[in-house]
Amino acid sequence: MEKKWAEMSPEEKQESLFQRWLSPKDPAGNDIKFQSPQAEKAYKERIIRIKDAIQLKKLPDRVPALLLPSFFPVYYAGMTPQEVMYDYDKLNIAFKKFLIDFEPDVNIGNVAPGPGKFFEILDYKLYSWPGHGVPPEQCYQCNEGEYMKADEYDALIEDPSNFFSNVYLPRVFGALAPFQMLPTLTGILEMYGVAFNFIPYGLPPVQNALKALMEAGNEALKWVGAVGAFTNEAIGLGFPSMWGGFTKAPFDTIGDTLRGTKGVMLDMYRQPDKLLKAMDVLTPIMIKMGVNAAKMNGNPMIFMPLHKGADGFLSDEQFRKFYWPSLRKVMMGLIDEGIVPNPAAEGGYNSRLEVVRDLPKGKTLWMLDQTDMIKAKKTLGSVACLSGNIATSLLELGTPQQTKDYCRKLIDTVGKGGGYIMCNGAFFDQAKPENVKAMMEVTKEYGVYK
């Protein structure tokens, strides 16, 4: 099996992953049973529809209709983010209701809210979540900071794994602070002196951290049991899971949670070579992250949230020098393994379209937010499937008629000839349900290709 995979072309690999997506299995490797023949038919049609839109070879039967919300299903179900982060039954109820009521072509899954108790056990510092820094009725938000200091690039470059375990994790998880004392595992080589490496594991703070780690593991298992059950139930109902996993642009890996926005921006001036070198080191790691997830979950779609490359955040020169080369390498690394990268460019990407179209045709799916879609269709759209552009403000403040009109316009222009998937532009929390419904309805009726 392993050898066969290595011999396949990227196209064959992609086809193999699509086939696995089409024949979903549970974690034990058994086929997931559909609740009805209609559900099975709908499931397969949905994947084929998305596949056709992405590959730009065949016109799909209609424009696929996706909904990729943030906390909207939770508010729609009349619950608070705090409730679903701590009560996994409620989490499943909310997201199931959302799927059944709106019937999008995919299930975004209910992983995003995350397990509240798990974050508590580890004393997660990187985010404030309901009851821990933000009110119960609001979603979690990131606490930006320099979790990696400006003078720590060498440590990251020399040994990224050790930097994460002994420096970064102790900073973002309060309960893991004692891990700063842990040995470098690559020093454990032979009998002489080997026991020195294990001394830290005898120290009470490290032992407490290990206990917290086990407790966190238990909670993570409990949570994944619940979200996994929902995923499989949704498949049984005919809703394919949107993604096999996620990975990031190396610039964002550094800029989002290691150095922070300000940190990474200053590094472009003060230590550009180290920043570039660190991104080189992270590139294969980001590829592996996406490849492993896609293979494990039998789903070719890998989500890539793009942040710091949006219009205005970098000059064209900076984008071409610091952002795009490593992002492209990650995307090509994924494509070579048969994966469909699904970058989500929140904000505007107008100034990037000419640069990012340097990709093989029919291999990627771009989620765009406030980008000029007509312009995007003419540029990036010639090599990639586009999605998105339904504004958060339209969904929250507009009317069903306005929503339908906007969707129709997108179907007529960007959807022309295929290569477009109806979708919200940014991950939304609040929206008028009737607008969300209108968006799905009009796409399923008006979006049919004749």
Binding site: S128, G133, V134, P135, Q138, C139, Q141, N143, E144, T261, K262, M265, L266, M268, Y269, R270, G312, F313, L314, S315, Q318, E346, G347, A391, T392, S393, L394, E396, L397, G398, A426, F428, D429, Q430, A431
Partner: protein, 210 residues
């Protein structure tokens, strides 16, 4: 050293401008003159940002350089710097939202364009805005928000300003990732700014500056 503070700073030459400042301080140059040069340099940075030549990283970097210049010069100051200001602006991210990057960029741009900015910070409740408007007498209010929940917080803040009887005394602008004209109408603000420069243009327009 032929280079001067104004051009070195506006060209973002960190080492060079700090050397010039240290050199001028060694020669007992008037610290107020150095600061005035720095201010002029920052004005050029602002203009370049407005014209699309500079981007967010350039603003952040220039701010960092300016901070170092101020730190060098401050111990030499004998009297406070008096700068003529165009007007006062109360600025903050609305309740429930802790995003600050956009907020601080707008603060920076208003400041370099001659406005006196009262930056309240993130997650600020409507009453905090009302109190600051009363205390400062500011005629312009800027509400920032990145999340969709900010739409409601902005509306509540505008309502609170109305209830405090201040609505006709202030002009209110809003801004943030998902903000557009629809959101402006919903919140009852006077205008929305697509980016920091739009915010500056609004503030100038409202204070009658050309």
């Amino acid at each position: 050293m032929a280079k001067d503070v104004v051009s070195s700073l506006s060209d973002l030459k960190e080492k060079e401008v700090l050397e010039i400042v240290q050199d001028r301080l060694r020669k007992n140059d008037d610290p107020l003159k150095i600061l005035d040069d720095a201010r002029r340099g920052m004005e050029i940075v602002g203009k370049r940002f407005a014209s699309g030549e500079y981007f967010i990283p350039d603003l952040i970097y220039s701010g960092e350089i300016l901070k170092q210049i101020t730190d060098l010069v401050k111990p030499r100051l004998t009297k406070a710097v008096e700068v003529k200001r165009l007007g006062k602006v109360v600025l903050g991210t609305v309740a429930g939202d802790i995003h600050d990057i956009g907020l601080n960029i707008v603060d920076f741009m208003l400041d370099t364009n001659g406005f006196e900015v009262y930056n309240l910070g993130v997650d600020q409740h409507p009453q905090v805005f009302v109190n600051k408007i009363k205390e400062s007498g500011a005629a312009i209010v800027g509400l920032s928000g990145f999340l969709t929940l900010a739409f409601d917080s902005m509306k509540q803040t505008v309502d609170a300003i109305k209830e405090a009887g201040l609505r006709d005394k202030v002009k209110i602008m809003i801004g943030g990732g998902q903000i557009d004209e629809e959101v402006r109408k919903y919140t009852g603000a006077d205008a929305y700014g697509k980016d920091a420069m739009a915010g500056v243009a609004l503030a100038k327009q409202w204070t009658g500056v050309k």
